[in-house]
Amino acid sequence: MIKKRVVLTFPHEIVSQPVVYHLVKDYNLMINILRARVTPQEQGRLVVEISGRKKELETGMNYLAELNIDIQPLAQDIKWHESKCVHCTACIPHCPTNAIFLNRDTMKVSFDKQKCIACELCIPACPYQAIEIVI
């Protein structure tokens, strides 16, 4: 079993297709939807955690690629600009996974990409525009 967190961007002509259904049914993959935003006639964005056997995960990804769905590793999605951060901690209560966390001895804020699910709740909470979504 391997696990992958990815951001899937759907071209608008694919938005109406049951892509997740096929990933589960045809490729035996487990899909945990972390975030979804679908704007009909435009595009869809899906942040998912996919787990399954290595082989099936690969073929599932190929299926997505054939549909022209853009696949990006999740870690690239949210950018924390350390130089802009003043370590105020306004974002801390908004992060559901502790991806943004505080060392309470140094009172320094840090960001752990691996834990980030790109929910974007931290972005409006930051008064210094230190967190950015990179699309």
């Binding site: 003043v86 370590h87 105020c88 901690t89 306004a90 974002c91 801390i92 209560p93 908004h94 505080l102 309470r104 140094t106 009172m107 320094k108 804020v109 409006p124 909470a125 008064p127 210094y128 525009q129």
Partner: protein, 387 residues
């Protein structure tokens, strides 16, 4: 009991002999050695705070054009300034927004750029677009100018803030609204989903001098990375709030008005700030040295986070309607530990004030004093203390 004078302390600073510690370090020193010994050994305690301070701005005198203009309305990078002063004098307020800003029309507004950001850009040495219009007079015939200024080209740029460094502040919660609310205390989640505070607690200047025994008019301070002075008590200064047995106020109380030369300041300590759904402001670094003139004063500077209490205030219904109600008292140790208990619920905390930066400011000020680059001043008049 008096232990030393300003003159004696400054003499030791000049000789490089002054014993200077931060408001964190003095806590352990007093605990280990006791008040008497600490008061004798320590000359100065440095404090610090780094937080959004909305009652701030800068007077700027730009080099007039040829022919001259009696500037009536002036914009810097599209931000309106107050020009109802002499020809080339303006006041740029940190919460001012561009005329074309969408504000909260698409709620919550982003407020990406405003007066606070112009000040940061100016201090960073960037070019700022200036536009001025007027009606024309015999002595000032020009009716419109568009030019570029920067920190070097202006005659004066004076940071002049009518209310900074609040002595204590509310903890903000959202108790009654069923959606996120967007306040100057940050985003507050429904059902008391979080609690936001804004003070450096045991490092905060006025919490280390609760009765303003040393901080007064004329006190030289660290301001925005450079030097500044306390020029008056701040607007809304109110020493009459309830105090703990240690004299420390248990709600927002004293404030100071400060002034300093923007030309000597740094963008690291003056940060343009965008508060979603609320507006723009400026986050300012302030550090104030406290001379240990007496045993009382060293006792006050040894105050700890766990001994500084403040009130939990609802910002969904009470605060907007001017209802003065507290949902409990908490101390800054609890707030900084990450969770406080409100109505039996564990609520995560966040801050608008950076403790890390406050600590850095206290350290920088300590270093400047130790090196003899920063002497202390005796206030020419005290702030009203309510005593």
């Amino acid at each position: 009991m008096k232990v030393k004078t300003y003159e004696e302390i400054n003499e030791r600073i000049r000789k490089g002999e002054a014993v200077v510690v931060t408001a964190e370090e003095i806590i352990d020193i007093v605990e280990e050695k006791g008040i008497k010994k600490a008061a004798k050994e320590v000359d100065v305690v440095t404090t610090g705070t780094f937080a959004p301070m909305c009652s701030s701005g800068a007077f700027i005198n730009f080099k007039n054009s040829k022919p001259k203009i009696k500037a009536q309305k002036v914009w810097l990078n599209g931000i309106n300034t107050y020009a109802g002063l002499a020809a080339a004098d303006i006041y740029l307020g940190v919460t001012e927004l561009p005329d074309e800003d969408l504000l909260n029309k698409v709620f919550p507004g982003n407020f990406k750029y405003g007066g606070g950001h112009v000040i940061e850009d100016l201090v960073a040495g960037k070019h700022i677009k200036l536009k001025a219009i007027s009606y024309g007079t015999d002595c000032y015939p020009k009716k419109e100018i568009e030019t570029v200024i920067d920190i070097k080209s202006v005659n004066q740029a004076i940071l002049t803030n009518p209310r900074n460094a609040y002595q204590n502040y509310n903890v903000a919660i959202n108790k009654y609204s069923d959606r996120n609310i967007y306040t100057y205390m940050g985003i507050l989640k429904p059902n008391i989903g979080n609690a936001n505070y804004c003070s450096a607690g045991q490092l905060s200047p006025l919490l280390n001098d609760p009765f303003y025994k040393t901080i007064g008019i004329g006190t030289r301070i660290f301001l925005g990375g450079g030097e500044g002075y306390v020029y008056w008590e701040g607007t809304q200064h109110n020493p009459y709030v309830k105090r703990g047995p240690n004299g420390v106020v248990r709600a927002p109380a004293g404030t100071i008005a400060v002034v300093g030369d923007l030309k000597g300041m740094s963008p690291e300590w003056l940060k343009g700030t965008s508060i979603t759904g609320y507006g723009v402001t400026l986050t300012i670094g302030i550090g104030i040295p406290i001379p240990i003139l007496s045993e009382d004063i060293v006792k006050y500077t040894a105050v700890k986070d766990e001994d500084i209490y403040t009130q939990i205030v609802d910002y969904s219904k009470d605060y907007p309607n001017g209802v003065n109600k507290s949902y409990g008292e908490v101390n800054y140790k609890q707030l900084r530990d990450g969770y406080i208990e409100i109505e039996g619920k564990q609520v995560p905390t966040g801050a608008l004030s950076s403790y890390k930066k406050a600590r850095e400011i206290a350290e920088i000020l300590k270093r400047r004093i130790k090196k003899g680059r920063f002497e202390l001043t005796k206030p020419v008049k005290s702030l009203s203390s309510g005593e």
